[in-house]
C-alpha cells in the first residue's frame, strides 16, 4: 500500500474517532443535558430530590417576588415553614428551605447558580454552618463524592474541569471528570431502574410533582429527645438516656464526643473557595448573604477541645452585603430535650428554631439589630 491511501485511512480513522466522541457527547447531552431526564429522575434519589427542591423553589419565585429568603444547609439546618406560617401576625418575608440533607456548600453553589441566574431574585440567602471557626473533622469535605450526585443535573460542560479539580483524591477527580462529561455514567442506575419499571416511575414522578411540596410542608419531626444525655468532656465518656438506639448513639459519638482531629486548614480552604464563589456571584447584588451558627448539639462541645486555627466565615463576613448572626443567638436550643439525636433538632426544637430564625433574619434584614457585618 502506498503512503497516499495509508494517510487517507489514517485520516478517516482519526476523523471517525473524533466524530464518535463528539457523537457520544451529543447523545449524552440530548438525553441528560436538555433538562428532560431531570424531570423523570427517581424522586427519592439524591439527584432527584435536589431537582424536586429546585423545581419547587423556581415556582415559588414566581409567586413571592422579592420577599423571598432562601436557606441552604444540610439536615442540621432543619426548620419548618409550617410553624412560621402558623404564627399569628404578618410575615414580612417568605422563608424557603432549599437545603438538602447531606449536601454542602459546593452543591449549594451549583444549585444557587441555576436557581438565581441573575443573582437578584432573593432578598437574602441564609447559610447554616456548624461553627464560625474552621474545625477539621475526620472526613475531607473536598472528597465527598455525594456532591457529584447532588449537582450532576446542574453541571455544565464548562464546569467539568473545575468541578473535577475540586476533589483532592485522584480517583475521585477522575470519577467526577468522567461523570461530569458523560452524565449517563452517573445516571446509569437511575436509567436502568426507569427501564425496569417505566410506568411505575412516571406515575411516582407525577405524584411527587403534585404532592411532594405538601408532604414536606406538613412533615413533622419526631418528638423523641435526648433528655438525660450527659458527656464528660475530660474523658469523652457519654451517659446515654435509656432507650436510645444505635443511630442516636453514633451521632453523639461521631459528632460530639470525639477526640479532636489534627487541624490542617482543610475546612477553611473548602469554605473559602465555595462560599467565596457564591459571594462573588452576589457582589453588587441587592441580595444579602447571611450566615448563622446552628445549635451545636444537645450538649455543645466546648470550644477549648479543639484549637481552631481560623475563621473563614468571619473573614467572608467582611465583604459588603454579608452578615453574620450573633453566634450565641441559638444557644438556648442547645439542650438534650430539644434534640432527637446527637446533631438534629426534634419536633419541639424545630418549632422553636423556626420562630427564632424568622425573628432574627427579619431583624437583620430590616436593620433593627442582631446582625454583624
Amino acid at each position: 500500500m502506498d503512503s497516499g491511501p495509508k494517510r487517507r485511512y489514517g485520516r478517516r480513522l482519526v476523523l471517525a474517532c473524533l466524530a464518535a466522541c463528539a457523537g457520544l457527547i451529543a447523545l449524552d447531552s440530548v438525553l441528560f443535558r436538555t433538562g428532560f431526564y431531570a424531570t423523570i429522575l427517581e424522586p427519592d434519589s439524591s439527584t432527584g430530590l435536589c431537582e424536586l427542591i429546585l423545581r419547587r423553589e423556581m415556582s415559588a419565585q414566581e409567586r413571592y417576588g422579592d420577599r423571598l429568603v432562601a436557606t441552604f444547609g444540610n439536615s442540621r439546618f432543619a426548620w419548618s415553614p409550617r410553624e412560621i406560617d402558623r404564627r399569628p401576625g404578618p410575615h414580612k418575608y417568605e422563608f424557603r428551605n432549599a437545603g438538602v440533607a447531606g449536601s454542602d456548600v459546593r452543591a449549594w453553589y451549583y444549585m444557587i447558580r441555576d436557581l438565581d441566574p441573575t443573582a437578584r431574585r432573593y432578598k437574602a440567602l441564609v447559610f447554616g454552618v456548624d461553627d464560625y471557626a474552621d474545625e477539621d473533622r475526620y472526613y475531607n469535605p473536598n472528597d465527598d463524592i455525594r456532591a457529584l450526585h447532588y449537582v450532576i443535573a446542574r453541571l455544565r460542560l464548562s464546569d467539568v474541569p473545575e468541578f473535577a479539580r475540586s476533589f483532592d483524591s485522584r480517583e475521585l477527580q477522575i470519577a467526577a471528570f468522567r461523570g461530569g462529561l458523560l452524565k449517563g455514567i452517573i445516571f446509569q442506575n437511575d436509567l436502568q431502574a426507569f427501564l425496569a419499571h417505566p410506568i411505575k416511575r412516571l406515575s411516582y414522578v407525577s405524584l411527587c410533582n403534585r404532592s411532594w411540596p405538601m408532604w414536606v410542608y406538613n412533615y413533622e419531626e419526631t418528638p423523641n429527645s435526648m433528655a438525660g444525655l450527659q458527656i464528660d468532656w475530660n474523658t469523652l465518656k457519654v451517659t446515654f438516656p435509656p432507650g436510645v438506639n444505635q443511630d442516636q448513639r453514633d451521632t453523639v459519638n461521631n459528632f460530639l464526643a470525639h477526640e479532636p482531629e489534627p487541624q490542617i486548614g482543610r475546612v477553611a480552604a473548602f469554605q473559602r473557595t465555595w462560599y467565596g464563589r457564591i459571594l462573588d456571584r452576589y457582589r453588587g447584588s441587592p441580595t444579602k448573604i447571611i450566615f448563622l451558627r446552628l445549635a451545636r448539639g444537645p450538649v455543645p462541645r466546648p470550644d477549648n477541645l479543639t484549637h481552631k486555627l481560623s475563621s473563614s466565615i468571619r473573614e467572608l463576613a467582611s465583604r459588603p452585603n454579608v452578615m453574620l448572626l450573633d453566634e450565641h443567638v441559638f444557644e438556648s436550643l442547645e439542650r438534650p430535650e430539644l434534640f432527637r439525636d446527637g446533631m438534629h433538632l426534634n419536633r419541639e426544637g424545630i418549632r422553636r428554631f423556626s420562630y427564632m430564625l424568622e425573628d432574627e433574619i427579619t431583624r437583620v434584614l430590616d436593620g433593627t439589630g442582631g446582625g454583624v457585618n
Binding site: L15, A16, C17, A22, A26, D28, Q192, L195, A196
Partner: protein
Amino acid sequence: MLFNTVHFFEFLAVVLVLFYASPRVLRRYILLLASYFFYGSWNVKFIPLLLTLTAIDYTAGRWIERTPRGPRRKGVLILSLAANLGFLGFFKYYNFLTYNLALLLGKPTGSFFLDIVLPLGISFHTFQSMSYVVDVYRGEQKAVRDPIDYALFICFFPQLVAGPIVRARDFFRDLLDWHPPSGDDVSQGVLLVMFGLTKKMAFADQFAKVANDYFGNVAAHPGWHSAWSGVIAFGMQIYFDFSGYTDMAIGMAKLLGFHFPVNFRRPYLASSITDFWRRWHISLSSWLRDYLYISLGGNRKGQWMTYRNLLITMLLGGLWHGASWNFLIWGGYHGGLLAVERAVRGNRPLSDKWTWLYPLKAVATFLLAMIGWVFFRAANLPQSRQVLAQMFSGPAGRDLLLPWHVELIGLALLLAIAEEKLDWFDRVAKAPTLVYASALALILFCLELFGVIDAQIPFIYFQF
C-alpha cells in the same frame, strides 16, 4: 491486566505506537517483549513455564521435520505432547485426580493435595503449541526456523490468555509475510475492540450480577422462574463475556496486522446442537475436531464408532475447561446430544435454511444449551442437581431478570439476526466515515449507559 481496564488500554496504546514507530525488523521483538510484559503483569513466576514449553515445542518441531517418517519421528511427537499434557495435567488436573483417588482409597480427600496455582491461559497456549507440533508431524506446517517467531506465536498477547486458539499456518502467514493492516482492517479492528468491550462491560457484567446472585445462593431463590432466569442470565453472561473478549482479541490483532479466525458466530441462533458447536468457541471445536475427533477415526468407522468418538471428544472438551465432574458432565451432555442428533439426522448435511421451523429449532437448541450451562456454572454436582430440580419442578418463584435485562436480550437478538441476514458489522466497518463514526458513538453510548464501569469483573475464560 484485564482487557476491560484503563491500564490495558494504556498498554495497548504504547504497544501500537512503539510497533508502528519502530523499524520493521524490531517489530517482532516489540510484540514479544510486550507479550511477556502482559503475561508477567499477571504473575511473573509463570514466565519460565511459558518459556520452557516454548523451547520444548520449538525444538520438537525442528526435530520432527529433520526426522524421516517412522517410529523415531512419532517418538519425538509423543515426547512433545507428553510434555505439554504433562504440564497441563499437573497444573490443572493433579488435585482433581488425587482428590478422586483419595476417595477411592478411602483416605482423607486432602491426602495428596498440593497448593497449585493454575498458570494463566495454560489450556489455550498448550493446545496452540500441540497443534503446531502435530501439524509439523503431519507435514501440514513447516517447522519455524526463528525461535523469536515461535515464541511470539505462543505468547502473542491479544490471544494468550483466552484464545482464540490460532493455528500455526494462520499466524505465521501473517507474521512471516507481514503487511500493514488495510484501512478496512483498521476500521474493523477498532470497531471490534469497542464492540467487544461493550459486550463485556454492558452486557456480560450486567448479567453476571444476576447469575452470581442466583448461583451464589440457590436456596435463597426458590422456584422455576428464578432458576431459569438465573441460568439464562449465566448463558447470556458467558456468551457476551467470552465473545466480547474474543472480539477484542481479534480486533487488536487486526490493528497489528494479524488475522485471527472468527470464534463465535451467533451461537444462540443455532438450529441444532451440531450447529451450536459450529458457532460457539469455533477455534476450540475445530481444534477438537481436527486433532481429536478425526484422530479417533471421526465418522469413518461406522455409526457406533462415530457416536463414541463424539462422546469422547466432547467429554475431553468438557474436561479441558476445568478439572471437575461438572465440566466432564457438561462435555458428556453435549457429546450425548451431538450423538443423538447424528443418529436422527444420519448422513444428511446440516440444513441452515431459515424456514418457519427454524425459530422453533433455535429456541429448542437455546434451551438445551441453557440446561448444559447449569453444569458449567454450578459450584458442584449437588448444586447442579438442585438447580435442575428447581428448573423443572416446584413453585414459580421470582423472575431475577429485570425488564431492562430482557430489553438488552431483545436488542442483542435483533442485532444477531440482522448480522446473520445482512452482515451489518462488515458493512458498517466499510461504510462512509459518518456512518462508521455514528456506529462507534452508539456503541460507546451503550457502554456509557449499561457498562459496569468500576467493578472490573474478570473474564470467565481467564480461569481456564
